[in-house]
Every structure is written in C-alpha cells, then in structure tokens.
Amino acid sequence: MTISRETLEADVVIVGAGPAGLACALRLAQLGADSKGRGAASSLDPENVYVLEKAAEIGAHCLSGAVLDPRSLAELIPDFLKAGAPLTPVSKDSVHYFTRHRSFRLPLTPPFLRNHGNYVVSLNRLAKWLGQKTEQAGVSLFAGFAATELLVEDGRVVGVRTDDKGIDRKGKPKSNYQPGYDLRAKVVVLAEGVRGSLTKQLIKQFGLEAGNNPQTYAVGVKELWEIPQGRLRAGEVIHTAGWPLASRQFGGGFLYGLSEKEVSLGLVAGLDYEDPRFDSQEAFQRFKTHPFVRKLLEGGQMIRYGAKAIPEGGYFSLLPTAVEGALTIGDTAGFLNSQRLKGIHLAIKTGMLAAETIFEAHSADDFSLARLSQFEKRWRESWVHQELWKVRNYHQGFEGGFWQGILHTALQMVTGGRGLRARYPSEPGHLRLKKLSEALPRNPELKADGKLTFDKLHDIYHSGTAHEEDQPPHLRIGDFDICNDRCTREYGNPCQHFCPASVYEMETSPDGSRRLKLNPSNCVHCKTCDIMDPYQIIDWVCPEGGGGPRFEGL
C-alpha cells in the first residue's frame, strides 16, 4: 500500500513536551516577541514552532520525584512564583540508612543532598502549567501526536513523521484511518526524555556515542499517597539508602511532602543489577513495609502509581548535542546530575540554550552544523557544564556497590570530581545481569496486603494507563525464539520482573511449553525493557498518539 501523506512545513519541530521541550519552545516564543518588540523585520513566529507530545494531554507522561532546583526556571520565568507555578518550598531535609528493621539518620546531610531553596514539585503539574504558558505564548502544541520517525535526507535531519492513527492490530487501516504527517523543519529538537525512540534512530544513523562511556540507567517506581495530616511537613524531603536494595545495587528511596497531606514516594534502582529476578515494583512494595515508611503511610490511601527510567551516566555518557539538522536536549541527551538525582533544571536550561542557538540561526537564516554547534559551545560555557563536570565520575564509582561508591564519592568530592582517574569507565548495565544459574537464592515473594502493598495489576490500574486496544504492538521483539527458549534457560525471562507494568507475561500453552505474551496496553512508557533486556532485542516504539499513562500528580 502506498500511503499518501500530507507534508507540513514548520520552522522548528520539537519532539516531546517535557520540561526540556517546553522550555525550548517558550524561550523561542519569548525571543521572537522581544525582537518583534524591537522592530525586527523577519522574526520567528511562535506559531511555526511545533511541539509534538505523545500523551493525550501535556504532562500526562511526565513523572519525576521531584525536588526542583529553580535556577533555570527563574531564568525562564523570573516571576515564576507570582505566575502561579505549582511549587512547595523545601522545609526540611534528611538522609537515612535503612537496614531491614532499623533506620539510621545521617547526622549531616551531604552537601549535594541539601535542598534549602529548592522546591518539591509534581512534574506532571509543573509541565501542565508550563504547557499553558507555552500555548499562551503562541506556540503550536500538539498533544496526542507521537513522532515515529526521523526524516533524514543526504545526511541531514529534515523533519519527523507523526504517528499513523487508526491502524488495527494486523496493520490494516480502519475506517477512521488517518496517515501521519511529514513535518519538515529547518531544525528538529529531540526532547524525548530518557531513551527516546527517535534519539535511538539518530544514534544509529549518525553513528553517535563513539568514544564516550555508554549511557547507564536506573528506573524509578513511585506512588502518590494521601496521608493523615501531621506526619510529614509540606516540603519535607527524605532520602534513604540501603534496604531493600542489595549492597551491590545502585539506588535509594525518596519521600517528598507535596503538601501536609500528600506524599510522593518512590524507589530508584540502577538498571545494572545482577539478579535476573529483581523486580523494582516489588522492591518498592517492600520499601513501604519498612517501619519508618509504614508509620508514615498507615491509614493513608494510594492515589497514583507510575514508573520511568532515568539516565544516570552523566558527563561522559552525554550524546553529541548537535548534528546536521537536529539538537538533543534534556534527558534524551543525558543531561542529568545523578549525584543530586536532578535533571529538571538541566532539561529547562538546555532547552533554553538550544532555543537561543536556534533563534540566532533563524535570524541569520543559517542552519548549518557549524551554526547549530553553537549549542554545544553554549552549554559548555554555562553552569550546566560546571555542574556535570564536578560529578563526572559519580555514578561509575558505584559500579562496585554501595560502600565502594560512598568511598569514591568522598574521594571525588575532595578532588573536584576526579577521584582515582580522569574518567571512570563504565559498561552498559544489561551486561552485568547474571545468568539464572549464578544467581543467589531469592527472597520469598512478597504477599501484597492491598492496603500498604499492592500487586502490579492494582498499581497499574492506578497509573491511569489506557491505549487503543486494536493497534499493532508497540513493543517490537526481534526474535521470539530467543524469548521462548534461550532466555528462559539462561535468565528465566527477566522481562516478567523488570517490567513494572506486567507488559511481559510467560504463558503456559496447552502442550506445556511456555511462551511470551505481550500486554502492550499496560505499558507506562518507562522504557525499562528497551534498556534492560539482556539480548537487546526489544525495541520500544511509540504507540498511537494519545495512548499511555496519566501520571496526574506524579
């Protein structure tokens, strides 16, 4: 079937309306308005800045902790408090080390975890608010549209294709079929967040990543709870290390008071663990049974659930941020400070710097690589570089486990980030997964009580996830034979465990053989499978736009 597609021309196409993409769009609109105010003849019209977002509503796929460092938000919207940004000032900070039954409060909060002057936020609410500002500034925001393909011509990115809508499970058009558009642009900005699917295409087609450390990841699983008043202060920030994670695992827990009655809590676990049966959703449920956490939550009510991966590699894992016709910003490029577990401020800042670069390119009508590479120069000369350089070896220091990591961190702090060598190397996390035969005996399975702890299906229901059921699966498996045979023997199908949304299920057929069954409509778009699969045969692609979780309040 030849598909006739409509082509639309924009000046700038931004893929993803998270903090990075929205900040980029809003800054472009601001710069356009400024120069128009100064009487410039051909200014950038914000209407020709297109932002594509796969979620049905802006913010619905945005999930974070989160404690926000307001540095870049204040640069973007100086009166952000007056303008009604949904923020709660941090009121208190503490760090605790957990053993199974006890917790030890660190007498001093390490400097990088001190949050005075920062804000507790729900990224979902913040993105919604930023989205409104961006729309009011005249930008063309398209929620419910996924970018599914980069358009590349003669070694240059010239645009993106949007998702085909109304295709059935078998790939046939339905009566309301609507082919995707080819959106052509002078520059494409990839702001897809962690492990972007177009970014993957970009890496492949442009041979990026060479010479750096590979990106390493973690996954964060979280819930929003309503709790009785008086247990946690609004703006209170608690971090935990230790149990329930094994000492060789990277990660920790967090509890953030969004208000006196709302607490955001979660567990972050490195996607470089060894036990193929490790299950982040289950580990998080265990976390809640710790007396310290239980005491906070008991009698409360779970409101929302969600999960999302986090790029942890830092400075040495950053992608080149400019190629012919495209820029990468925020998480998709790897801008995240894993020591502080903060990326929102870097997403906003890199979005703004990309906008400034694009605006200049537009004024000069020159979108050459030389011009776009000014973006790389800009962020390197800004505080983004300073902040990431200082912690360039942080995450790698933990590859030998928690206690070694603490030692490396201390050493790096006194050597300006260097530690034992100039660049600590790292390897992709999935390579550290051990075969089933080498794995240690497993904890007895946790029995969810339905009040404090929940099974996956209950949690997924609370992620508000919904997809059009009759569409092709958006998880493309390279070779089911590996799943049904080799992986079963070697790793015991870790997909069943690492997916926090039960998308992967091993089903026993009547003849007794076990086969992989996919439940794509459960998917919360966390991208863990694409990252953690030991054979790297899972390709996560965008489902029909508008489908996915609804991370309200997360």
């Binding site: 639309l8 049905a56 619905a60 309301n176 409101i303 929302r304 508000g464 309200e552």
Partner: protein, 259 residues
C-alpha cells in the same frame, strides 16, 4: 443544514476519583477530562451529515474554562464554530438547568437538527436532550443508531431492549440523542488543529441570557456520593442439574441482566 451539537466534558473513563470534602461531588484537581463518549459520536454524526448535505456544525458546551479543550478538539475535527457557556452560575446544574441555558441560545439559532449524546458518563441522567427538545418545541428521538435525511424528512433507527430496533419518521427541525457506536469517530488532524485556532468561539454568560439564580435553581440535588460498598454474596442453587440450570438462566437474565 445547520446542526448544533451539545458536548459535555466529563472525567476520563477509568479516572481515579476521590470524593470532595462536601461528599457531594468529586475532587477535580488531578483529574483529566475528555469529551463525553456518546457526545463524541454525536459530533461525528453531525460532521458526516454536513459532509453529505452541506451546512454548518455548531458546538455548544457548558462548563468552566477547561471545557475549551473539548471545544477545540471538536473544532479541530471539523466543527465550524462554538458557543461556550461559561459562568460560575452554571456550575453543577441539573439536567433541567443545562437544558434551560442551552435553549436560550438555540431558540435564536434555530438549528435544523440538534444532536446530543444519549447521556453523560458522569451523571447518567439522559434527560438534558429530552428537556431541551421540549423547551425548543422540537420533536425528539432517543438512543439513535442511524440517521437518514431526505429533504425535510427524517428517519431514525432507535435501539430498544434485547436486540430490538425501531424506525421512526419525524419532521425537521428535530433533536436526537445519539447512542455510542453509531459510527467511528475520526481523529483530530494536525491541520485541523491549526485551522481550529481561527474558528470563532463565542462566550455566553448567565446575565447575557437574562437568566437569574431562580431560573437555574436545581430541581434535583446530589445528596451524597459514595464509593460502592463491596458486597460479595455467594448463593447455592439447589435441585437437579436441569433445575439448577433453569434457575441459573433465570438469575443471569433477571438479576444479573447479562443475557
């Protein structure tokens, strides 16, 4: 042909609802909203009729600023213009109040056809359309599954119980309440969204319609809202296999109403 479509915005299906402090409505913060399902079908039907017979589709929606999203979606799909009834006096009206407000504008618009959804997914009264027809003096048909228009004549297929249908003829102008599943609603297109930006949305307040609080005072009130209490009940059927089968069928048909 001028077609008016009444659209309501309701919490998304499967939205996780929390009761508000007053226990008579839900906490709207952190809830996402969408176009009421049967209304989306009504809109699609209107757009298809316009494609066949020409004319204009006018979307009417009542509610706070958030309903702009539903209105824009309708305009992006191809409606020509919209009327947004926005006023604090319009919050939590009953069906009679909503129909009263809508009728004030539609009396002067005099559309040839008014389409509403069969009922709203949140309150489920199934009355707004019917009362509106009465106020406008239009004939109406409910639970409509097919529409045929031939000049001034209208023939519609209504859904009855147990797989039965009924064909009804009526004159235009008329009001129809549409059942979900009558068509396959289209997606909003990128181009449609761009074009929607320049389509007119007129705002209307209670004052402009000459409506005071007496006119809108509810005839129905929500006394209490609560989460269904879960009761699990096991019943054992007695008798021979045949008798038990007969009892089971009876229960499935008349109590569970699934047959």
């Amino acid at each position: 042909m001028k077609i008016a479509v009444a659209l309501k915005q309701v919490p998304t299906r499967d939205a996780l609802l929390r009761l508000s402090e007053s226990k008579s409505w839900i906490e709207e913060r952190d809830v996402s909203f969408e176009v009421n399902e049967p209304d989306a079908y009504a809109l699609e039907e209107a757009l298809q009729l316009k494609e066949k017979h020409g004319g204009e589709v006018v979307v009417c929606s009542l509610g706070p600023p958030r309903v702009q999203q539903a209105i824009k979606e309708a305009l992006a799909k191809g409606a020509d213009r919209a009327i947004h009834f926005e006023d604090t006096q319009f919050t939590q009206l009953d069906a009679n109040g909503t129909a009263t407000v809508l009728s004030k504008v539609l009396e002067s618009e005099r559309p040839d056809l008014v389409l509403t959804g069969l009922q709203s997914d949140d309150l489920g009264y199934a009355q707004t359309g019917v009362i509106l027809a009465e106020r406008l003096g239009y004939p109406h048909a409910t639970i409509v599954m097919e529409i045929q228009i031939d000049g001034e004549k209208l023939r519609v297929k209504r859904e009855l119980e147990a797989g039965w249908f009924q064909w009804v003829s009526m004159p235009l102008p008329a009001l129809l309440t549409i059942q979900s599943g009558i068509n396959k609603p289209r997606y909003a297109s990128l181009r449609g969204i761009m074009q929607a930006k320049s389509k007119p949305i007129s705002k209307v307040t209670a004052g402009e319609l000459g409506l005071g609080s007496e006119d809108l005072s509810p005839k129905q009130n929500i006394v209490r809202l609560y989460v269904p209490e879960r009761k699990s009940n096991t019943e054992f059927l007695q008798g021979s296999a045949q008798q038990m089968a007969a009892q089971l069928v009876d229960k499935l048909r008349n109590e569970a109403r699934v047959l």
